[in-house]
Symmetry: C2
Subunit: 243 residues, 2 copies
């Protein structure tokens, strides 16, 4: 079933209208009167709708059912990934959205080679948010993960430490596994941090411990900076009973 | 520590010589006499060596220690992925190698859009094997996963069913989770199959069941064909206690 995201204020009526990019998308799909589609507010509410009228640049829909999305994960996992080179963050935004991430957060760390300035960052965030929206549509999600940028590692630690479980993955950690951290207690929210291409600085690991985070390994093999967050997220969703 | 793969017959002596691409790589790294490197046979044996002499196109090494790689996963997981468009299989070869896959197998299925001919396939396999080698070096593995191509779905089923656990992931399966399949019994070898962009045909699912495979879900969100195998592999490694 085709899936469209609209602003949350546009989903309250029993008659919905798709315009702009949504209408273009509907045209590509050649939607006709009587067909059934899903319209989501990107916040977890979705409406099952029937196409009532197709006109140029506008599709009118009648809502037949309104429900909370059943596709969202049972835990809220926030991915914190250090700025990285090239299109790695885009890749992680797309895949982490499919895998059910609640939020995806970028932040600078000591060994980051990529340090985008404020202007280019604004454009990047818009682009990342679009990728998240598109991935949410494709994967059938009821919620679009928010993509955020923080301006310091310290803020990432502060924010991550507010979750039920907060983890920093460090390639030189050998003893503490993710399984130990997850088995410790039940959780509704979890945040985890992964480093840039050059890895995390030992001082950053100290800071994470001081902020109350657990420092864990992702195993004996060195994972690329774009592989680590997706590996961790998959394992967390598996642990939480999602599949 | 720098890491080189050589043919298994070239690792038996106490004096090893790096040539060709390995020597070029050593040159880029500016290796000097006295430095310590690891040389692997790609089959799970590795030697700790000291550089004895650097000359044009050739590096001589003295073996100080020979050991089984401690980095290989405790389970042998084989990834079966249907032929896919673009560079998705390359992506999966690289990431699955990092994540510890034992083998990576491509096969044709009913809804595959990509159907490479024999000639282009030969080139592709060479390229995929190179990607696996390079990813094995980067991630510190002691074994290079073999990349294989099968010429029918039937052969994939036959081969996969020989593992301790054989799984087919199907997007329309809702009841049976991966966790159920893995918790059923302990295993040393596991094979799992994922479909192409267009998904698997219901008849293929029937065939998998007849071949003795378990049909499982990867959760409520629809994963792209290149995301599914990496999600499954991460979860299996997590389950097996790798991290």
């Amino acid at each position: 079933m085709a899936r469209f995201f609209v602003n949350s204020q546009d989903i309250n009526s029993d008659l919905l209208v798709l315009t702009g990019e949504n209408a273009e998308h509907a045209k590509v799909l050649r939607l006709n009167n009587g067909e059934v589609v899903t319209v989501c507010d990107g916040q977890g509410t979705e409406c099952i709708c029937t196409v009532q009228e197709v006109s140029a640049g506008q599709i009118s829909l009648v809502v037949s059912e309104r429900q909370a999305s059943a596709v969202e994960a049972c835990v809220r996992a926030t991915v914190y990934m250090a700025f990285s080179k090239g299109d790695k963050f885009e890749h992680v935004v797309q895949k982490a959205t499919e895998l059910g991430a609640y939020e995806i957060v970028a932040f600078p760390s000591v060994r980051c080679v990529s340090r985008p300035d404020e202007k280019s960052l604004k454009k990047k965030v818009e682009r990342w948010q679009k990728i998240a929206t598109s991935a949410a549509e494709q994967s059938g999600r009821g919620r679009i993960p928010q993509v955020l940028v923080l301006d310091s590692y310290k803020k990432a630690l502060e924010r991550a430490s507010q979750s039920d479980i907060g983890i920093l993955f460090y390639e030189n950690e050998q003893a503490k596994t993710l399984k130990m951290a997850l088995s410790d207690k039940s959780f509704q929210t979890i945040s985890f941090i992964t480093g840039p291409e050059g890895g995390l600085d030992p001082k950053e690991v100290e800071q994470a411990l001081s902020a109350g985070l657990q420092v864990c390994t992702l195993g004996k093999r060195i994972l690329r900076c774009e592989t680590a967050p997706l590996c961790a997220l998959s394992a967390i969703m598996y642990h939480a009973g999602e599949f």
